[in-house]
């Protein structure tokens, strides 16, 4: 009796013979590596690609010419715009964003976006062209060591120098980008691999990698330990981060909070994961967050961090952070547990799985007195800050603009912010109701993020109002993407809050650097004319009486629309946790000069 290996060999031989018999042979089409790549992307159900062509990726663009019916390529105006657009697309849809760029400067222009996507856990797949394999290391034209350059800013990357290796690389890239804690990946493909002709192939999506365990199994012993702390808590408190959104755990979080009566605050990236109009919602937490959640972090007895990483903008001085509390940390990324804050116990798991298990096993409870403490401090914040912010006299203020925007859109738009004062104001005053409706650059703090990210978000969710809220500084960092908006008629709304300053830096200069406004005042162009040059309808408003109508016109427009609102030059964002201070030392107003 032949052994198993002989049978397998025979089987392989017979299959080959069958293929070679006249009339029954399977004629496999020969295609280029570039086309292999595009077929892989189609197999991964990619529909939209953001990119910019160049010498080393020309074979891919040549093949793309024939794939216009399958792949929608958006020609941006700068590679940084491509990756931010892909990030906006990914954050709004939950699908991976895809980017094409050429070698050398094309690839290095992606670095900021890669860093941004890595720290903010955004699934992005970047494909870069590279010089011919035989030229690697010769300082050839537009040759940069892209793999080594992007190691610190990618979850994974690879260089492919043969066409046959493209399918496996693409399959791995999509699997890695979208599983576990999502992140950006990069495939660098040499030009010879793009040109090389190989036999057509069967695409096999990646199902797993032996050395990569993206989804830890929920440990019920960890759940029980957490429950024991929660059961005895008198003043428990949930900090919800982006992990809740990434694991589609918003409903599970609401269910857990409602059953246990535990108040919920959101981090900057967590905004939208819990409805802002829910009675258990106590605000936004962080350096410019709401007063109550910041102050009461240092009064709670059990702190439950879910899908968040205790970033320094959340903790303030870690030596003064929640010292009195027992801390439970739920996160899918084990490296985040005990990284910044030593926790009492943790659940290393997907947020949704952990929340479902916790809800099932927890006892119904109410914490009315504890919630009323949040309410009392929120009233104090309202009287000292919010009332003046949204109903001021004198110059227009950023907060009243965002407050109006929130009211007029009923908190249902996708708002995409840049970085700075307007970002903090939007986080405070735009009342998000749904998951994935707040997109911003959190960990990296990338100015110039908003405009391209907004166009990406609009392409991902075309049926939803998308408003880019930007400062005058950040707007000019990626302003060229107005060209992309024009070319494709992307009906994104652009709201620039113009104070002719790099406002957040100016605020710090005012408060902590003796009001020395060192290189923060900006002389700006006529933004309305600039938008007009790109055939984008545009308006400018500088008086309160015209604000409502201007916002309405912008929101009602079926096309892209640019609205500049001139706000007070020295408008500040409060509350504020000063650098080095504890989170509960948050200031409600400017300190009095001594």
């Amino acid at each position: 009796m032949p052994d198993k290996s002989n049978l397998q060999q025979m089987d392989a031989l017979l299959t080959k013979l069958k293929e070679n018999q006249p009339g029954t042979a399977v004629v496999r089409k020969k295609i280029t590596g570039a086309e292999v790549l595009l077929q892989c992307l189609v197999a991964e159900k990619v529909q939209t690609i953001f990119g910019y062509p160049g010498g080393a990726i020309m074979p891919v663009y040549d093949a793309l010419y024939h794939y216009a019916d399958k792949l929608n390529h958006i020609l941006v105006r700068h590679e940084q715009g491509a990756i931010h657009a892909a990030q906006g697309f990914a954050r709004a849809s939950g699908l991976p964003g895809v980017v094409f760029a050429t070698s050398g400067p094309g690839a290095t222009n992606l670095v900021t976006g890669l860093a941004d996507a890595l720290i903010d856990s955004t699934p992005v797949v970047c494909i870069t062209g590279q010089v011919f394999a035989h030229l690697l290391g010769t300082d050839a034209f537009q040759e940069t060591d892209v793999v080594n350059t992007t190691i610190p800013v990618t979850k994974w990357n690879i260089q492919v120098a043969e066409a046959k290796d493209i399918p496996a690389a693409v399959a791995k890239a999509f699997f890695i980008a979208t599983t576990g804690r999502p992140g950006p990946v990069l495939i660098d493909i040499t030009k010879n691999a793009q040109n090389e002709i190989i036999e057509a192939f069967d695409y096999v999506p990646c199902q797993g990698i032996s050395t990569y365990r993206p989804k830890p199994a929920l440990q019920f012993s960890q759940v029980d330990e957490a429950l024991a702390l929660i059961k005895n808590a008198k003043k428990p408190y949930i900090l919800a981060g982006q992990g809740v959104l990434l694991s589609n755990a918003s409903e599970a979080l609401v269910a857990f909070s409602e059953k246990t009566g535990i108040p919920v605050a959101c981090t900057l990236l967590g905004l939208g994961c819990f409805p802002t109009d829910h009675p258990n919602y106590v605000g936004y937490l962080g350096m410019h967050g709401n007063y109550a959640p910041n102050v009461l972090t240092n009064e709670c007895d059990v702190l439950i961090g879910i899908g968040m990483r205790f970033d320094d903008r959340v903790t303030g001085n870690v030596q003064k952070y929640a010292r009195q509390a027992k801390i439970i940390h739920i996160d899918i990324d084990k490296a985040e547990i005990n990284k910044i804050i030593k926790v009492t116990t943790f659940i290393h798991a997907d947020a949704r799985e952990a929340l479902v298990a916790l809800t099932e096993k927890s006892l119904p409870a109410k914490h009315t007195e504890w919630l009323s403490k949040f309410a009392a401090l929120s009233t104090l914040e309202y009287d000292k800050v919010i009332k003046k912010d949204i109903g001021p006299d004198g110059e227009l203020r950023m907060a009243e603009v965002i407050h109006k925007l929130s009211e007029m859109t009923e908190g249902k738009a996708i708002v995409v912010t840049d970085v700075g004062q307007h970002q903090m104001i939007t986080s405070r005053y735009y009342k998000m109701k749904d998951p994935r409706t707040h997109i911003t650059s959190g960990g990296a703090g990338t100015m110039g993020f908003s405009l391209p990210a907004a166009l990406g978000a609009k392409l991902a969710i075309p049926g939803r109002q998308v408003v880019a809220v930007i400062g005058d500084g950040g707007f000019q960092m990626t302003v060229q993407e107005l060209g992309t908006i024009m070319q494709y008629g992307i009906p994104v709304k652009i709201l620039v809050l113009n104070n002719n300053f790099l406002g957040m830096v100016r605020q710090w200069q005012q408060l902590f650097h003796g009001k020395r406004y060192s290189f923060t005042e900006m002389q700006n162009p006529d933004f309305v004319k600039l938008a007009g040059a790109y055939s984008i309808r545009a308006a400018k408003v500088s008086e309160r009486k015209n604000l409502d109508l201007a916002l309405k016109e912008m929101l009602d427009s079926k096309e892209s629309y640019f609205l500049e609102v001139v706000v007070g030059k020295e408008d500040n964002v409060f509350p504020m946790v000063p650098g080095g201070a504890g989170i509960s030392d948050i200031l409600l107003e400017e300190p009095k000069a001594s």
Partner: protein, 96 residues
């Protein structure tokens, strides 16, 4: 208080894995006193790294978590002191 640790790591033997490992240490300014990287004799697609590091116990634990996060890294272990490094490096050299 900083002290010596021996770090032992097994991974897929791909281009750039070693750079990713070293990047994690460099970014945290961890001193590498000695290092040995090798392909597995029985399977060139896999390899390992042995390092003698000088850092705090707390940082060592965080580095282990970060290294375990790397896609191609399979196994990470560390031991207090340099004795393990001496013993292991002799085994690796001996095998070659």
């Amino acid at each position: 208080m900083k002290e010596e640790f021996t770090l032992e790591l097994e991974a897929e033997n791909n281009f750039s894995v070693l750079n990713r490992i070293i990047n994690i240490l460099n970014r945290r300014r961890v001193r590498i006193k000695r290092m040995m990287a090798h392909e597995n004799e029985s399977d060139f697609r896999r390899g390992g790294v042995l390092m003698l590091l000088f850092t705090t116990p707390d940082m060592m634990e965080r580095i282990k978590d970060q290294l375990e996060k790397l896609i191609e890294v399979d196994h990470v272990a560390y031991f207090s002191g340099g004795r393990h490094y001496e013993e292991k490096s002799e085994i690796v050299v001996g095998a070659e």
